[in-house]
Amino acid sequence: MSQTLVSPATSGIPAKREITTKPRFSDRVFRGVVSTGALSSLVILGLIFFFLAFQGYSVLRSQGIHFITSSTWQVVQDGAGNIDPKATKFGIAAMLIGTLLCALIAIIVAVPISVLAALFLNFYAPPFVKKIMVAIVDLMAAFPSILFGLWGFFILMPSAEYWAKLLHHFLGFIPIFNVDPPVFTRSPFVAGLVLAVMIIPIITSVSREVFSQTPLDRIQAAYALGATRWSMIRAVVLPYGRSGIVGGAMLGLGRAMGETVAVYTVLNIVYQVNWHVLLGAGGNVASMILLKFGEAGPQEIKALMAAGLVLFLLTLVVNLGADLVVRRSGGKGR
């Protein structure tokens, strides 16, 4: 700046400053640094995809589509200890089905509870109760997953086993509730319940946020027309917040599908396709990775990387869906 000024001693009038919209050097540096830093999330996601695909490529190539459609996982070695590429099979179908099964149970249990809780927090609770409850629910979202795992194993499991027996007793005629050898411990049902407890805070806070954006004039219009609180909720809040609920449920689904430690603690991981939710056998991709990782040889590690890639893509798709749905809910309803 000082160069553009003519010395006051000679003229007394400063020269006109140049008016420009060109950003200064410091601003250009600032923008560059910030944009680079902000690109980190893109870079990291890209790198995750690249490295997992790079490491898992040979397995994906040799197994092809069977990697996600078959459920045999065997490493065959010949006499010299080399891996026989023909007989070695990697397929994660059983674990994929287990992942979906556990996550679905979690969603089915968690969504109604969370929506009701969100309705309570927004429309029923007195302010101080609301404040405390919101803090409690948020706190629960911050709990580490290993805590849920141990709690599920030691505290929830005995109760859940009893509930499973009740379900089996009264609803056993429905195929998925039928258990042939009566083994109820460590079943996908229990894992689903633990996951439900973990995702309730997420779905609750997303739905609560969407419900609280319901236009006040419509709420008041409904009351003015003589609606009770429940008919107001049914006529105004639920239609407005529907996509928010769906989005929150999908976020919860993403979290439930990727959960490792809690599922590993609670579930009896057996490598087979199991549709019987009450039977004590199952698994999910994430916990399978943790289980197999300990004793895996180099080739098997590559297969685990490929499984990680599949899990990564799955959660990415679910999150993309959730993002689209939640975003749509914001602009709608006018």
Binding site: R31, S35, A38, V115, L116, A117, Y124, I155, L311, T315
Partner: protein, 349 residues
């Protein structure tokens, strides 16, 4: 002149004593019914009481309102009962979790926990031997390194989304969202495939921190973004009007104004990763000695210690696991409460 009568303000929306009495009667009737039904039928246990009580209460409440005020009010009463059940079921697990951890973890606590490590003991030893020192220092170092990596990146992302608002804002928002959905085990596998196998070829605390940063960046970025959005635009305009460049406005006006909020973002990020287990199990190796060097050698940490003690499965080791969980939970609670207090102070100012 007569003294003007003071009219008592009416509050027609509040329940009258009579209405209160009626709802109390319904409540008591429901309790009695549930006891009677549980006593005369083969149902038993706490679950049966809760279940029958809920059904009875809803039915009585419905009937009462239906008789006095009609069908739609009765439906409203049912909805109220169901919603109350919803929030109780949502909150019940957390109370159970807190109670369990405090009761079970309390037995494993002793002073040596904070002065000894497990170098000379195994987890099956009596509880008063050994301690958590290695795990506490390890978790501290892991979190600190992750903090150093992820806080600048997270805050820069937030600044991009609130201050620069460039072309890539929408995709960037989605990417942050997607990143917060990355399963923790995938973060572990990624670091394993990209850093451990090709470069370091061994376990260390640093690679664990790298994986933790991946999980921490989105939390920091999203919370910071929310905080920066709360800064009134007047401040930015004032900064520019005083002749500040964009950079000076952000660095000298916006960021200082949001300082406590940014600290909250950091704290929440730390709370998110302090108990993260899966990547720790894959990457850090989990030593039993205090290791102050994040770049060499296995590094113990609280989640690893909990996992290891739990997996051994003897009564002593499980008590150790609960004690370590208690310590971890207290850390998370302290972080969470301090974040709350900070953000509350900000909003009340």
């Amino acid at each position: 002149m007569t003294t003007p009568t003071v009219v008592k303000p009416q509050k027609p929306w509040q329940a009258s004593p009579r209405e209160r009495l009626n709802s109390a009667l319904v409540f008591v009737a429901a309790i009695i019914t549930s006891y009677v039904i549980v006593a005369i039928t083969p149902m038993k246990g706490k679950l049966a009481y809760a279940f029958v009580f809920f059904i009875a209460f809803t039915a009585f409440d419905f009937a009462f309102h239906y008789v006095t005020r009609g069908f739609s009010v009765a439906k409203d009463a049912i909805a109220r009962a169901v919603v109350a059940v919803g929030i109780s079921v949502a909150v019940f697990p957390i109370i159970s979790i807190l109670a369990t951890v405090f009761i079970r973890g309390y037995r494993g606590l002793h002073l040596g926990l904070f002065t000894h490590d497990m170098a000379l003991n195994s987890v099956t030893d009596p509880i008063n031997q050994g301690g958590l020192l290695h795990a506490l220092t390890g978790t501290g170092i892991l979190v600190l390194v992750a903090l150093i990596i992820s806080v600048p990146l997270g805050i820069l992302t937030a600044i991009y989304m609130t201050e620069i608002r460039g072309r890539f804002m929408r995709p960037m928002k989605f990417l942050v969202q997607a990143m917060s959905g990355v399963p923790s085990i995938v973060a572990g596998l990624f670091i394993l495939s990209s850093v451990v196998y090709p470069i370091t070829k061994g376990y260390s605390g640093f690679v664990g921190s790298l994986a933790l940063s991946i999980l921490m960046i989105p939390t920091v970025a999203r919370t910071s973004e929310e905080v920066l959005l709360l800064i009134p635009n007047d401040l930015r305009e004032a900064g520019v009007a005083l002749g500040g460049t964009h950079w000076r406005t952000v660095a000298m006006v916006v960021v200082p104004a949001a300082r406590s909020g940014l600290v909250t973002a950091m704290i929440l990020g730390v709370a998110r990763i302090a108990g993260e287990t899966a990547p720790i199990l894959l990457l850090t190796g989990g030593g039993d000695k205090v290791n102050g060097d994040p770049f060499h050698g296995p590094m113990g940490s609280l989640p690893f210690y909990i996992w290891k003690s739990y997996a051994v499965g003897t009564p002593e080791s499980i008590t150790r696991a609960w004690a370590a969980i208690l310590v971890l939970l207290v850390i998370v609670l302290v972080l969470f409460v301090s974040a709350r207090l900070l953000s509350e102070r900000r909003s009340s100012k």
